[in-house]
Symmetry: C2
Subunit: 214 residues, 2 copies
């Protein structure tokens, strides 16, 4: 019961925050849309600030949870590292480049002045965690001589933004509303090709870095 | 007189919009801060929407104006292409990664729903124009065999975000307020090294793509 109420409130809150903006959204309206009392919202989430934080974290954690599962599957699978990085990039692009995440990102960025914890938490649970997840895998690829990567943490950050930055900015400024599956595939392939080309081992090391799809 | 008034109003408007947000900012307050009458503001800029558009365009045009001047200077200068790209990246990073541009970006993104022209115009005058500026130069570098670039327009877009995306997101989410000159240099050098490594000509073409600073 409680879990289902919790989810209902979180879902209603996400919708109301996106439709109204953080400042204009009211706990009254969220409670009404979730079909619960205002007291129930407060009991579950504390206050509007903590409710927004919970909703934002649920969104980023769903993404990094999926990415973690994918990395685990790759580790035990037989796919080559290029397919593995492409699959990671596709999942990242597919889950981040959505109208809902774009709307939440906008809200979070807009509240950074009044509500600094939120921005830092979003960053840490979002791009920051993607970097933390990918870093050890890139270190392994370097150690095996498949890629040449001096600074795996910085390379993971580059990877994240090579996938996301161009299409995400198009969404944030309203030049594009969403991407088709085919476009998501093309975004991921382009980023992985560029990343692998930039980190191709120099001669004398094993040359395992041929670009995907070329 | 008129030019100086125009500038005064634009400066006051930038400050008031950043401090109050687009919706809360009033033409009254902007007029007061500029030391002119409300009628003068309307005479110069039409309405609040057009004033915000003018202020945003002035900000992006200042950046792309400086970048254009730099590309022109490089064309007649004797610097190698690596130094030229590094200088371009440094100017881009130095001018875009400021608290003022970050605050304006946030405002523009936040108004995309209510005021879609603004977002699209910012994109076209900002990242879009940087891509337009850099594309012919990258095509030349490919034609000369100095870099291997199949799609110069896409590569220009990659270049822009390789420089800006990681540090810009740190600013947007409040993880960093600003960058020192030394940090700006490091950001530019890292991006240019990665870009050149990714577009190093393959054997059989002139190998002019050694990374800067390595």
């Amino acid at each position: 019961m409680t879990v289902s109420k919790h989810r209902k409130i979180a879902k209603a809150a996400t919708e109301v925050f996106i439709a109204k903006g953080y400042t204009t959204a009211s706990v009254d309206e969220i409670a009404m849309q979730a079909g619960v009392s205002k007291q129930t919202v407060y009991k579950h989430f504390g206050n509007k600030e903590r409710l927004f934080l919970a909703v934002s974290m649920a969104a980023t954690d769903a993404i990094t949870g999926e990415l973690a599962a994918q990395l685990d599957a790759s580790r035990t699978g037989t796919a080559d590292f290029q397919s593995e990085l492409s699959a990671f990039a596709r999942t990242l692009a597919r889950m981040v480049l959505t109208p809902e995440i774009t709307a939440l990102r906008r809200l979070v960025m807009n509240e950074v002045g009044r509500f600094p914890t939120l921005g830092r938490t979003w960053y840490a649970h979002g791009p920051g965690r993607v970097v933390t997840q990918l870093t050890p895998r890139l270190r392994e690829l370097n150690d095996k001589g498949l890629l040449s990567i001096d600074d795996p943490e910085r390379a993971a950050e580059d990877f994240n933004w090579l996938v996301l930055a161009a299409p995400q900015n198009k969404m944030l400024f309203g030049a594009t509303r969403s991407f088709t599956d085919k476009e998501i595939d093309a975004i991921a392939t382009h980023a992985v090709n560029l990343f692998i080309a930039a980190h191709r081992p120099t001669s004398g090391r094993r040359a395992g870095g041929r670009a995907v799809g070329t």
